[in-house]
């Protein structure tokens, strides 16, 4: 029994450690280094943040360069596919155009009515929000993580927690800011929890991401009366996001309230980052 144990010990040593004096403890020290890196991620200090920002920015730039050829091939393939489907999409667009023309007059009327009602309740209309526009630099979808990198960071006063919009629709928030880049955690990510409000049912709840599946509304009252098609907006309850940013509409599936997002997260190329008041003050 002892001999066997010795054999295993010798094998492990020869496999992992004994590779000449230079490589001795190489694997072991790299493992320790990895653990130190993981530990350092939990520490927030200025020098460490600078170092992290520098490493991340450099790797993102490298990733953009390395991803360029596969992206070009993918774009070319998509171009040919869209060319083949040209006739179908033409017919579809024509139908859509007719529908939109019909809706324009209706929308004008609703806008007018909305402004009149706002005046009636004397709502203090918000001053036009400040946005910072950004381009999606890297969009690496993984089964475990739904996020992307945008090309602005602390150089444009971006801060953690800011709301990210596609057009006028909320799609995520900033979770990591570097000098020239930031990471956007999409609402579909498992780690994303956003306080929301449903309309017209007026329930406060938490929009929770589920990876490739649709996000759902959690912490709703048991006997809620949410119906298919109810609109979901940010509630502004945690004080970071402005209230009333549209997110999507509800769809009830086997008792679970799912949210169909207004924006297609796989097709986002440009985004607006909503700079909050705190940020504006610091700018002044």
């Amino acid at each position: 029994m002892d001999t066997r144990r010795e054999d295993v010990g010798i094998t492990i040593r020869s496999a992992l450690l004994a590779k000449g004096t230079k490589k001795r403890f190489y694997l072991f020290s790299l493992t320790i280094l990895s653990v130190i890196f993981i530990y350092l991620e939990t520490i927030e200090t200025k020098p460490l943040n600078y170092l992290r920002s520098f490493i991340k920015d450099t790797i993102y730039r490298g990733s953009v360069v390395v991803s360029a050829p596969p992206k070009a091939i993918s774009n070319l393939t998509n171009y040919f596919i869209s060319y083949i489907n040209l006739k179908d999409s033409y017919n579809e667009l024509k139908k859509e155009n007719d529908l939109l023309k019909n809706n324009i007059s209706k929308s004008d009327y609703l806008e007018l009515e909305n402004s009149q009602l706002r005046k009636l309740i004397q709502e203090q209309v918000e001053s036009s929000s400040d946005f910072a526009s950004a381009r999606v630099m890297l969009d690496k979808q993984s089964p475990y993580n739904n996020s992307f990198i945008i090309n602005i960071g602390s150089n444009k006063n971006i801060k953690n927690g800011m709301a990210v919009l596609n057009g006028e629709n909320f799609i995520g928030r900033i979770v990591d800011v570097n000098f020239f880049s930031s990471r956007v955690l999409l609402v579909s990510d498992l780690n994303s929890k956003i306080p929301v409000l449903t309309e017209p049912s007026a329930y406060h709840s938490i929009l929770s991401g589920h990876g490739p599946n649709k996000p759902t509304l959690e912490f709703l009252p048991e006997n809620h009366s949410i119906q298919d098609g109810d609109k979901v907006y940010t509630s502004g309850k945690e004080g970071i996001f402005s209230p009333g940013i549209p997110i999507g509409e509800t769809k009830i599936d086997n008792g679970v309230v799912k949210v169909l997002l207004f924006s297609d997260l796989s097709q986002v190329s440009f985004v607006n980052v909503k700079l909050n008041e705190l940020n504006l003050d610091s700018e002044k």
Partner: protein, 164 residues
């Protein structure tokens, strides 16, 4: 001239695993996400080359590629490098204890290596407060094992080129 050409060819095939390693790290292809399943080619690549041609895949490169993957995917720095180093350590151990090179040997020994690596991966993300879909991780592990022979074949072909 023929010698020079042979040297270039040799260097090319010798560096190919490293190119591949960094390409998939930078390009974020560590986990290929197909419609119903995903395969972790990063693990297979590291395991195969550390097992069969350790000179082409040193631990330092494995560590660096893990760090790059962490940044690209937005995980805390060190998570992927730790699990990749676990895979490399398991491969080193298997290299020492095995005598005959067969697909079956490699395949079976890959299973505990993958389990250890995924356990470390899960544990580090858990302690870093990152939610992870266990089902996705499980599916990813199953299909990575299933697809191992396919990549084993491709890498063996590369290795043969390198040795010829």
């Amino acid at each position: 001239m023929a010698f020079f050409y042979k040297q270039i060819k040799f260097r090319f095939f010798e560096l190919l695993p490293i190119f591949l390693l960094f390409f998939i790290s930078f390009n974020g292809n560590s986990v290929i996400d197909l419609r119903f399943f995903s395969i972790n080619i990063h693990y297979i690549l590291v395991y195969y080359w550390v097992l069969r041609q350790p000179n082409s895949m040193t631990y330092g490169f494995v560590f660096l590629s893990g760090i790059i993957s962490d940044v690209v995917y937005g995980f805390p720095l060190g998570v992927n490098s730790l699990s990749l180093l676990a895979i490399a350590a398991a491969a080193s151990y298997v290299r020492v204890v095995t005598v005959r090179i067969t697909l079956l040997n490699d395949w079976i020994s890959f299973i505990p290596a993958l389990l250890i690596a995924n356990f470390i991966y899960f544990l580090t993300l858990y302690f870093s407060d990152y939610s992870l879909s266990y089902l996705d991780l499980f599916k990813d592990s199953i299909f990575t094992v299933i697809f191992y022979p396919v990549l084993w074949g491709i890498f063996s072909l590369m290795l043969n080129f390198m040795r010829s």
